[in-house]
């Protein structure tokens, strides 16, 4: 895609275990104001709003209602995506491409601290066949991790290395929740949650929000930032029942990425992409998604990680922000991957900047075990 839709403003909260003083509306207002200030625009410049929230996490069945005033919805066309924030950005992008709006605000919020994660994620599972088994995000991920590791002979060590890398990267990210100096031994010795996933292989429970301002070609000129164009975007969903899928591979991600790359004219992602921000809800997922994104053959991402290719100094830094392992406000995290990719391309990523980043990939997932994926390619 040529210069059609750009990200011209971004805003995120600090991600924390518990933001006791803030309501959903507080978080949404904070990041909306930040994103507008970043873009140098006002709420009056926004043509349409897409909010992102989830009724289960918010404990209310029209979760969008809580944030209508805070996101500047008054007198505007507005909608709500219930799913990962990157899909929300995709919808905002479509509204601009339709020609009906020249700018869009996409804002996501989530407070993991206010409910019980295992109950909320257990509710993802079919009430007829699987929910009573007590599956939740962690136990289902453990099934997938085992399937992946068995298939390709990947051990827990490369996964641990991902955790070490990402928590370490988070030290450069003022927004991240868990910046930590870890060793592989620390990760291997951490408490087992659900074999083979240990505490330090898993993302934390997080509160936070994020927002982006999108603009079409003309409107992008009015923003004060250098526009970062969405060159390609795609999303795709795999089968639902875990038993209907080959959990060791991600055909849906491959298809979503393929679409995004084709639109962006990317033929050799390993060579042509400078930075990746992917959705590492669990350490093994960074390995699986690297493969699904086409950065290496299936089963080889562990090796790629061991070789240091994905470290800050490597030839393909992955999750300079610290990724989801360092801060995971579900629904928000995919939008944060987009924000981090945009900051990298802009050269605005401060202490976590990868020098000379021209093209970045952002990826978000939705549903159990990464059933559905959204991928975007960003470039100046």
């Amino acid at each position: 895609m040529d210069d059609q839709v750009a990200v011209v403003g971004v805003g995120q909260t600090r991600f924390e275990r518990r933001k006791r003083g803030a309501s959903f509306a507080d978080l949404v207002y904070e990041v909306t104001v930040k994103a507008l200030e970043d873009a140098g625009l006002t709420i009056r410049d926004i043509g349409t709003v897409v909010t992102v929230s989830n009724d289960f996490w918010d404990g209310r069945t029209i979760s969008s209602m809580a944030v209508q005033d805070a996101c500047g919805a008054r007198h505007k066309d507005i909608s709500t995506v219930e799913g990962d924030g990157l899909f929300g950005a995709f919808y905002g992008m479509m509204r601009i491409l339709s020609g009906s709006f020249s700018t869009a605000l996409v804002v996501a919020h989530m407070k993991g601290s206010e409910s019980r994660m295992n109950l909320i994620t257990n509710a993802m599972f079919d009430p007829i066949y699987s929910r009573m088994l007590g599956l939740d995000a962690v136990t289902s991920a453990a099934l997938q991790a085992r399937a992946y590791m068995d298939r390709f002979g990947v051990t827990e060590e490369p996964c641990a290395r991902v955790s070490v890398k990402n928590h370490g990267n988070a030290k450069n990210n003022p927004y991240a929740q868990l910046a930590m100096d870890l060793t592989v031994e620390d990760v291997m010795a951490s408490r087992m949650l659900s074999d083979p996933i240990k505490l330090l292989d898993a993302s934390p429970v997080t509160d936070g929000a994020a927002a982006v301002v999108l603009a079409g070609r003309e409107a992008a000129g009015k923003a004060r930032t250098v526009p970062v164009w969405i060159r390609g975007a795609g999303h795709c969903a795999d089968a639902y029942h875990l038993g209907d899928r080959d959990l060791a591979v991600s055909p849906a991600l491959r298809q979503a990425a393929g679409k995004a790359y084709a639109m962006a004219g990317v033929r050799d992602p390993r060579r042509e992409i400078d930075v990746v921000e992917l959705y590492d809800a669990f350490s093994y997922q960074e390995l699986m998604w690297l493969e699904g994104l086409g950065f290496c053959p299936e089963g080889k991402a562990g090796q790629m990680t061991d070789e240091g290719a994905t470290a800050m100094g490597g030839d393909l830094p992955v999750n300079p922000s610290g990724g989801c392992l360092s801060a995971h406000a579900v629904l928000v995290a995919g939008l944060v991957r987009l924000i981090e990719a945009v900051l990298q391309v802009r050269g605005d990523a401060g202490g976590r900047q990868v020098p000379g980043c021209r093209r970045a990939v952002a990826q978000g997932t939705n549903g159990p075990c990464g059933q559905s994926h959204c991928v975007m390619v960003l470039e100046k």
């Binding site: 009724d55 404990g59 969008s64 209508q68 008054r74 909608s79 899909f87 491409l97 979503a256 939705n366």
Partner: protein, 385 residues
């Protein structure tokens, strides 16, 4: 930039207060299969799917990824949109924007609800602020009843005026094989039905329905190849202006007045009563049929009852409202708004059978929900300029 979009097929399931014969996925699949059949397309032809419902009615988290067997979204792009009662029209708008973006040529939009699987009122209550609104909340019916109270106070309208709306919609439903309630009611029956929340009686209110609706949106490149009579999306506008139950303007339906004002201007409509051929409106209670028609510019303030009593909005009248029987005859909440759009498309495509408004060329669908929010979509026979 941007494509014109048309509806090329629709499907609706059997609508019942309880569809014990199907689980949620199967209910969705029933609507999808019918829409594909209507458009003479297969699952392979669909480029993207968008789906919506209200979570707490079925208690399933991440409905989009859960639905793929029924929605046909396996190895396709799918996302969920949801905004409460307006979900159905929100889904329609999303279907439209998917195709209008130029990224997808054939988009399947699905709205569904299996209200029987939960306590509807309990679930609706959770839509509102847990600390400030829920403790005293009077349910969806309470808010609508309060609206009725004020409308009667401001205009002198009566409960009988509203009851005439129920009589109309329930009579219209006799012509609609997809309606949930297909039994006429008399004015006396409405007036004598049990009082639920003064001044609303049982027959002033919509039923609770299990059902699903699917609509296929197509870009201008492919629409004419799929059907010789596509129903073009002429325009869509929505307004979700408030966050707290008590904040909306209680003197008139501000969101509807505002949204219709914008839409009419965009379409160059000056006299909606004359220029539209029919309307399918998300009116969840009888009083809406006399009050909110004023906010659509169909009658002056206080003039709603006259419009209805004169038969203007009956089949055969100048502007039939709810030829399908409307929401008073059928309300699977996540589907309801999409059904309004589907019914407009059915009319434009000339597939309305016994409920066809002859020569229909321009129709308006509305969605309602949340804090008195409104969605609008105009559908017509003419391709937009």
């Amino acid at each position: 930039m941007g494509k014109r979009v048309a509806i090329v097929g629709t499907g609706q399931t059997r609508m019942r207060s309880s569809r014990k014969d199907v689980n949620g996925q199967e209910l969705i699949q029933e609507a999808v299969a019918r829409a594909l059949e209507d458009a003479e397309l297969s699952r392979d032809d669909i480029d993207a799917v968008v789906i919506g419902n209200m979570d707490h009615f079925e208690g399933i988290n991440y409905v989009d990824t859960w639905s793929v067997d029924g929605s046909g979204a396996f190895m396709k792009p799918i996302m969920k949109v949801t905004t409460g009662g307006t979900t159905g029209t929100t889904v329609a708008m999303a279907g439209y924007y998917h195709a209008a973006s130029g990224l997808f040529d054939r988009v399947l939009a699905i709205g569904w609800e299996k209200n029987s699987e939960s306590d509807t009122t309990g679930a609706i209550i959770t839509a509102f602020d847990p600390v400030l609104d829920r403790p005293t909340f009077g349910g969806a019916v309470g808010g609508l009843a309060a609206w009725a109270t004020r409308y009667m106070h401001l205009t002198g309208a009566t409960q009988e005026d509203a009851a005439r709306v129920t009589v109309r919609d329930r009579r219209h439903a006799l012509n609609n094989p997809h309606a949930h309630l297909r039994k006429e009611v008399s004015l006396e029956e409405v007036m004598n039905s049990p009082m639920i929340s003064w001044p609303l009686k049982l027959l002033d209110m919509c039923p609770r329905t299990d059902g699903a609706c699917a609509v296929i949106f197509a870009s201008e490149e492919v629409a004419p190849r799929i059907t010789s009579r596509p129903a073009w999306v002429r325009g869509t506008v929505n307004r979700h202006n408030y966050a707290y139950t008590a904040d909306p303007n209680w003197d008139f339906l501000e969101s509807l007045r505002e949204a219709s004002g914008v839409l009419y201007e965009r379409l160059g409509i000056r006299e909606p009563l004359k220029e539209f051929d029919l309307m399918e409106l998300y009116f969840p209670f009888s009083f809406a049929g006399i009050a909110w028609v004023e906010d659509l510019g169909l009658a002056p303030v206080g003039g709603g009852p006259r419009l209805v009593w004169d038969g203007v909005t009956d089949m055969g009248g100048q502007l039939p409202i709810n030829p399908s029987g409307g929401v008073l005859s059928c309300n699977a909440i996540g589907a309801t708004g999409l059904q309004r759009v589907a019914e407009c498309a059915v009319q434009i495509m000339g597939k309305g059978g016994d409920r066809q408004v002859p020569g229909a060329r321009l129709a308006l669908a509305s969605g309602f929900g949340g804090c008195f929010w409104s969605d609008l979509m105009a559908v017509g026979a003419d391709k937009p300029a």
